[in-house]
């Protein structure tokens, strides 16, 4: 096992983590401010990917596609919030789970209806094609580095937005006391729509960026959604710092587990068995980590005060 391979896998883990952060940040923000658990977040991710693929195919530019993914996901988020989600804030979590589960059925089947079951493909933009050399030999895809950069910038931007702007102040106020900021004259229902659309846009961005690495298809949001849930549960629901920490942890543990576990097990098992057991263990690893963390800290690592 060379250093270059190890660094490559670490970067892959970081890239997965960053992508998960984009999903988890929206989820945790929506939960923190509105107390809503949104299963349909994966559908917004899918909408972003589809919008990017379609617009990029029509205009020939990935960048316009990326912009379209933000707009489309934010618009879809705002519409869904106004039509459905705002009726759910006062309901219990069970109703929220069911209603957003119903939304997933509708979004997935709707996308299949409009675009068919065949996957769409999205090319990596020319600017980010190619690879950069890694220390110790080996190469790393420039595009994945680009995703990591975008993720870091978004994290920074979110931090500034929440800690330095008026909107961020309202979001924080909404997290600590909804009734009070409504009483102080803040238009709370607009604030909720904005927060939901912001979370949706982040999910759409993640979907568009990952769309160029994988194919764009119906159902692509669901595995990511569940990983994002694991992330926010580990980090503490409602905490963006927790989401960042949890996302990087999950990304790296998952990637390194798949890479290292089968190899590590060859020390105690014959190679064929090691690959088998290692693979099975690796696919369960993040859930095991989550269970361990929750067993010790039942409300996550950075639980927001409630």
């Amino acid at each position: 096992m060379s250093t270059a391979l190890l660094i490559e896998q670490l970067l892959n883990g970081l890239q997965l983590g960053v992508m998960l952060f984009l999903m988890a940040a929206g989820l945790t923000l929506i939960f923190g401010v509105m107390g809503l658990i949104n299963l349909a977040h994966g559908s917004l991710y899918m909408i972003g990917a589809f919008a990017c693929a379609l617009v990029a195919a029509a205009t020939g530019s990935f960048w316009i596609g990326l912009l379209a993914s933000l707009v489309a996901a934010a618009a879809a988020g705002a519409i869904v919030e106004i039509l459905v989600i705002r009726r759910l804030y006062e309901r219990d979590h069970l109703d929220q789970v069911l209603a957003t589960f119903a939304l997933i059925l509708m979004f997935s089947e709707g996308a299949r209806w409009l675009f068919g079951s065949f996957p769409l493909y999205l090319d990596i933009p020319p600017l980010l094609q190619g690879a950069v050399p890694l220390p110790g030999g080996g190469q790393y895809q420039l595009y994945r580095l680009g995703i990591i950069t975008v993720g870091v910038l978004v994290a920074l931007g979110l931090y500034l937005l929440i800690s330095r702007t008026r909107l961020g102040m309202r979001i924080r106020a909404g997290e600590s006391d909804r009734e009070m900021i409504a009483a102080l004259g803040v238009d709370i229902s607009t604030l909720y729509t904005v927060v939901f659309a912001l979370g949706a846009a982040l999910a759409g961005l993640a979907g568009a960026m990952v769309g160029a690495l994988q194919s764009v298809q119906v159902g692509m949001g669901e595995p990511v959604l569940i990983l994002a849930f694991v992330v926010i549960v580990i980090g503490g629901i409602g905490s963006i710092k927790g989401a960042l920490f949890g996302a990087v942890l999950v990304g790296i543990v998952d990637t390194m587990g798949r890479f290292l576990l089968p190899q590590a097990l060859t020390l105690v098992l014959p190679p064929s068995q090691a690959a088998l057991v290692g693979g099975a263990l690796a696919s369960m690893l993040i859930y095991i980590v989550m269970a361990l963390i929750l067993a010790v800290r039942p409300s996550g690592l950075f639980a927001a005060q409630s």
């Binding site: 119903a102 926010i232 549960v233 369960m284 929750l294």
Partner: protein, 323 residues
């Protein structure tokens, strides 16, 4: 409560009468449809113990449904290939033994899952149960010995002493009988001292603890019983389809089980039965009209959650007196 009793009896008779009529008219498809309803209803009765009585929103009951299914599939495969299970213990195709194994496995796995999950509450509980189910799902997918992603076929439906289970009607009656037992269990639990404590834990855990009953143990027991009933239904479901696959463990399945309970009315004795009837009939009816039935199913479901609280039993039999 009288109106509810009449509604319950009506539903029970309807579910029995349709397959009997279908059998005399030579329409085995409707018997299979009714069997599907009975099996899914039993799974939902299991979930209703945790969700309706205990207020535990488990988003991971597919784990137990699937484990039950795999218990049936694995035992049947070993018996079919005449391979012993382990330590030379021979396998079996006898349904009662398979049911016991399925329930035992689910109970034993539900205990650690419940013990960790019940440390949390609210939205964390929803997500951690989901995560445990995903863990088992990914294990099933990546473990090739029992079919991995492709699932496991049961070539000959498992047997029940004295009954030809290969024919649709006798198998339906077996499932119907188990559903009746499941409902009786739910009814007995709800009326028992244990059930009273469980419902008290849902309504006010602090007060329950203050009178000297620790809510944790009550909830854990309920979670395990609930898992066992759902696991039993999973074993039947595998036998119904003669197939076990990871999709039985998927989070969609967990969602569907929640939907069955809510559609019918959570905490109501016959809620899961009404929910399963409505769900399977909608699936069948919408699937007949349009290829895009999932879209309309989603729409109907959304309507029920937003506007028809209390579910189908709430509509038929009125509001519950207490809850």
């Amino acid at each position: 409560m009288k109106r509810e009793a009449i509604a319950n009896a009506g539903l029970a008779l309807l579910l029995l009468a349709v397959p009997l009529a279908a059998s005399t008219m030579g329409e085995p498809f409707y018997i299979t449809l009714a069997t599907r309803i009975a099996v899914l209803a039993l799974a939902a009765v299991g979930l209703n113990i945790a969700l309706g009585l205990g207020g535990l929103v488990s988003f991971g009951h597919a784990a137990f449904f699937g484990l039950g299914g795999y218990a049936a599939g694995i035992l049947a495969t070993h018996a079919f290939n005449a391979e012993p299970l382990f330590f030379g213990i021979p396998s079996t195709t006898s349904m009662p033994v398979i049911w016991l194994v399925a329930m035992l496995v689910c109970g034993l796995i539900a205990l650690p899952i419940g013990a960790i999950s019940l440390r949390t509450s609210g939205v964390y509980f929803i997500m951690i149960t989901l995560a445990f189910a995903q863990m088992i799902y990914y294990f099933a997918i990546s473990w090739p010995a029992y079919g991995g992603e492709d699932g496991l076929s049961i070539y000959v439906r498992n047997s029940f002493p004295g009954i030809n289970t290969a024919r649709p009607l006798p198998f339906f009656l077996v499932c119907y009988g188990l559903l009746a037992l499941g409902l009786m269990l739910f009814w007995a639990l709800r009326g028992s001292r244990f059930g009273a404590a469980l419902q008290a834990a849902r309504q006010n855990a602090t007060r329950l603890a203050a009178v000297g009953i620790p809510p944790f143990r009550i909830r854990l027991t309920a979670f395990a019983i609930s898992a066992m009933v759902t696991g039993l239904a999973g074993a039947l479901f595998a036998d119904l389809n003669r197939f076990t696959s990871p999709s039985m463990l998927s989070w969609h399945m967990s969602g569907e089980l929640l939907v069955l309970v809510i559609l019918g009315g959570k905490g109501r004795l016959f809620g899961p039965v009404a929910g399963a009837m409505l769900y399977v009939l909608l699936e069948y009816w919408l699937g007949g009209i349009t290829e895009r039935w999932q879209f309309f199913l989603g729409l109907i479901l959304l309507g029920v959650v937003l506007f028809a609280r209390g579910g189908l039993m709430g509509l038929i039999a009125g509001k519950e007196r207490h809850g």
